[in-house]
């Protein structure tokens, strides 16, 4: 067989549009995931056991079930309860955010636990509340330390977001499928799709390396 370069060149703009959508859904999901994860991570360390248990159930459920199944639950199963169909984009972002949040919760938990207990004690001994101590003292220090695992999570999410193609959401993978359905250029298109994913993940990991180095230099520890 011959490699059809013309097909690659013709479909490249379409695939790039899909790549932009992939980046969008990843960025939105990881951002929401960070918010969810920060609170869930703190909840995992809460003194109150119902809060702790709720967070643990969430993290265990999400990490113990496949993202694909979670997408199906949100897109197909939940609408059966409510009686309303959900937009594919909303379903995709929700599934990815909730999924990402569970992994990021564990990253935050570990990051918070890695900060010396004396920091909390110093804050509390000055009369600062638990929330103030967290916000001004613990989280800023923890955040620097969790940049590398957060970067990994971003890369993982970028790749896993290909799963939302199954509900017809037109990100990079789905675009590839649609082009192949039209042109039968399986070989060329899947290689191109893989290449675009690779470029994106490499770019992110470089960015994370850079951030990590920058924070290491001014890490006042």
């Amino acid at each position: 067989m011959t490699f059809d370069y013309g097909l690659v060149i013709d479909s490249f703009p379409l695939l790039l549009v899909g790549a932009v959508v992939t980046i969008q859904i990843t960025a939105i999901s990881v951002s929401c995931g960070m918010l969810i994860g920060m609170f869930a991570g703190m909840a995992r360390l809460s003194k109150s056991w119902p809060v702790r248990m709720l967070a643990t159930v969430y993290v265990d459920f999400i990490r113990g079930t496949p993202l694909l199944v979670q997408i199906f639950i949100i897109y197909f199963a939940l609408p059966m309860l409510s009686g309303h169909r959900i937009d594919a984009f909303v379903a995709a972002v929700t599934a990815c955010s909730v999924n990402s949040g569970a992994y990021i919760a564990e990253i935050f938990r570990a990051g918070i636990q890695s900060i010396d207990k004396g920091q909390t004690e110093a804050g509390r001994s000055l009369g600062m509340s638990w929330g103030q101590t967290m916000r001004c003292i613990i989280l800023p220090q923890a955040f620097k330390r969790i940049i590398p695992p957060l970067g990994n999570e971003f890369i993982a999410m970028l790749k896993d977001s290909s799963l939302v193609s199954v509900i017809g959401f037109e990100e990079l993978t789905r675009r590839g499928q649609l082009i192949i359905a039209r042109t039968y250029g399986s070989f060329e298109i899947w290689l191109t799709v893989a290449f675009i994913y690779l470029v994106m993940t490499l770019a992110i990991s470089r960015l994370v390396d850079y951030l990590e180095r920058r924070y290491k230099i001014d890490d006042k520890h």
Binding site: D116, G118, Q119, E121, A122, G123, R124, S125, L126, G127, M128, S129, Q132, C136, I137, P140, Q141, K144, K220, H221
Partner: protein
């Protein structure tokens, strides 16, 4: 100023404090000595509730340590200096000192900074306001920690082995700051192994062993003429 009644503290099965009764007057400097594991630090940490007492009653400045709001109120009035300094590494010296006054006392930034600069001058570090903790020596860090605690205008200062993590040549600079404070009439509770400091500055020395107060009295009486056998044994090892 501080009243402690029948204070017990268990860590799991370990009974660390076995009924402490103690009253500390305003402007008094109380030095707590004793072998390691005797419960000195735990006692200190119970006073501002960093450790939750298992049993007993603590009142600071007539505020009982009962609910969360009271605990934060007491903590704002009680400064604490730790063995390992516990400065905030991501904040400059000035920010370390101004953080709590701004967050807790709601002072305007300018006012908090003025207070901080005055205190840094007092501990001899006015030129280090913009440095970060890691750029300072241990003695300097501990002096910043003292300034940070003082910035809250506390009524009591607790010192938990403030010189134990320091190189010998830096101990004096920290003790000098503490002496100044004592002479200004600050109420202080100091856990330390610095017997010279206890003798010179202390109004009262408390000797603790095995979770109990074994003996207490004026420094001269305790050091030259201890009544209890355990006090004698401890002092003979360290003096």
């Amino acid at each position: 100023m501080i009243s402690i009644k029948n204070l017990h503290k268990n860590f799991g099965k370990l009974h660390v404090l076995k009924g402490i009764d103690c009253f500390i007057k305003e402007q008094e400097v109380v030095v707590v000595i004793g072998p390691s594991g005797s419960g000195k630090s735990t006692l200190l940490r119970c006073i501002n509730y960093l450790e939750e007492p298992t049993e007993g009653e603590i009142m600071v400045d007539n505020i009982p340590l009962t609910d969360e709001a009271n605990i934060n109120r007491v903590r704002a009035e009680v400064g604490m200096v730790f063995q390992r300094f516990n400065l905030f590494p991501h904040k400059s010296v000035l920010k370390n000192v101004t953080l709590a006054p701004i967050m807790v006392r709601k002072l305007p930034v300018a006012e908090a900074e003025q207070i901080a600069r005055d205190l840094l001058e007092k501990v001899g570090l006015s030129d280090k306001a913009l440095a970060y903790p890691e750029q300072l020596s241990g003695g300097q860090q501990q002096r910043v920690a003292i300034a940070r605690a003082l910035a809250m205008r506390p009524k009591v200062m607790l010192f938990d082995e403030p010189t134990s993590a320091l190189d010998p040549e830096m101990i004096k600079e920290v003790l000098d700051v503490m002496k100044t404070l004592a002479h200004e009439g600050m109420t202080m509770v100091v856990v330390t192994h610095e017997m010279g400091f206890a003798r010179e500055v202390g109004d009262r020395v408390i000797f603790m062993d095995d979770g109990r107060i074994v003996e207490e009295g004026a420094p001269n009486a305790i050091f030259s003429n201890p009544r209890e056998e355990r006090t004698q044994a401890f002092l003979s090892k360290i003096l």
